[in-house]
């Protein structure tokens, strides 16, 4: 029971810190949100390429996989696993392991656009 509470706490802290880092960049630099997302994702790829990010995933669970850097981790991890199977696997492994997220985002967004109309901008 204690370990479950602790794991929520770790997920909260690590996830919160990654988001705060992004907010720091938004506040104190001129980098736009879109570029920050790309940078964080690439950060996840690079850290996992060196085998570092998986320690964070073991430590924080969803706190590490839910932020966009976790998407990069998933891509890099898939490519590394694919590379063990051959050249084609090395190229396709990344997208293969990220396919669930991209497919979900595409299909749900399509249905969403059919069902809902955009709300007028709330100010």
């Amino acid at each position: 029971m204690e370990s479950i509470v602790l794991s929520y706490l770790k997920a909260f802290l690590v996830g919160g810190c990654i988001c705060t880092l992004a907010q720091l960049l938004i506040n104190y630099t001129k980098i736009t949100a879109g570029k920050i997302l790309v940078c964080f994702m690439l950060g996840g790829v690079v850290l996992q390429a060196f085998g570092i990010y998986e320690y964070l995933v073991d430590f924080a669970g969803s706190g590490a996989t839910v932020p966009i850097s976790g998407f990069g981790y998933l891509l890099a991890n898939g490519a590394i696993k694919g590379a063990r199977e051959g050249l084609l696997g090395a190229l396709t492994g990344g997208l293969k392991s990220a396919s669930a997220g991209i497919t979900a985002a595409t299909i749900f967004s399509f249905l969403n656009a059919l069902i809902f109309k955009p709300k007028s901008k709330i100010n």
């Binding site: 929520y8 907010q23 590394i80």
Partner: protein, 150 residues
């Protein structure tokens, strides 16, 4: 008439004094809390899949992402997510729900311009770069591991 004439430096100082501070500390706090909260929900879903469906590893992360993406898009459709985003900034952009929001939002916005050039073409206007550079970087990582056998 007692008009004050200011130098450029004085004027710039005045501007920076008058410009409302964008509550930098508060935005940091709210992005920490919102980001942490979304990740905690992710942790809950993670436990659910782990205990009920006996998933593990990357499969577990993918399944969790799919549920969060669904929730993020539903909240986008209902117009709730943008309201959260106004206050939370990084806390709502960085989690995978923000990625989902960035896909669903333009698709919904441009649906009126047609199914092909509106909805579908605009869907990845923000998320596209993430996929382009993510897939490219992962291919590079894969090739390095393949050729150098790390």
């Amino acid at each position: 008439m007692n008009k004050k004439i200011m130098s450029n430096e004085q004027y710039l100082k005045l501007v920076s004094d008058i410009t409302p501070k964008t509550n930098e500390k508060r935005s940091l706090l709210s992005s920490f809390l919102v980001g942490g909260f979304i990740c905690s929900i992710g942790q809950f879903i993670r436990y659910f899949f782990m205990l009920v469906f006996k998933m593990h590893g990357d499969e577990l992360a993918s399944a969790t992402s799919v549920v969060l993406i669904f929730l993020g898009i539903l909240l986008t459709g209902l117009g709730v997510y943008d309201r959260i985003g106004k206050r939370a900034g990084g806390g709502s952009i960085v989690p995978i729900t923000g990625f989902a929001n960035s896909v669903a939002s333009p698709a919904m916005e441009f649906a009126s311009e047609g199914f092909v050039y509106g909805l579908a073409a605009k869907m990845f206007v923000v998320a596209g770069p993430i996929i382009v550079y993510g897939v490219s970087a992962s291919a590079i990582v894969g090739l390095i591991y393949y050729f150098f056998g790390l």
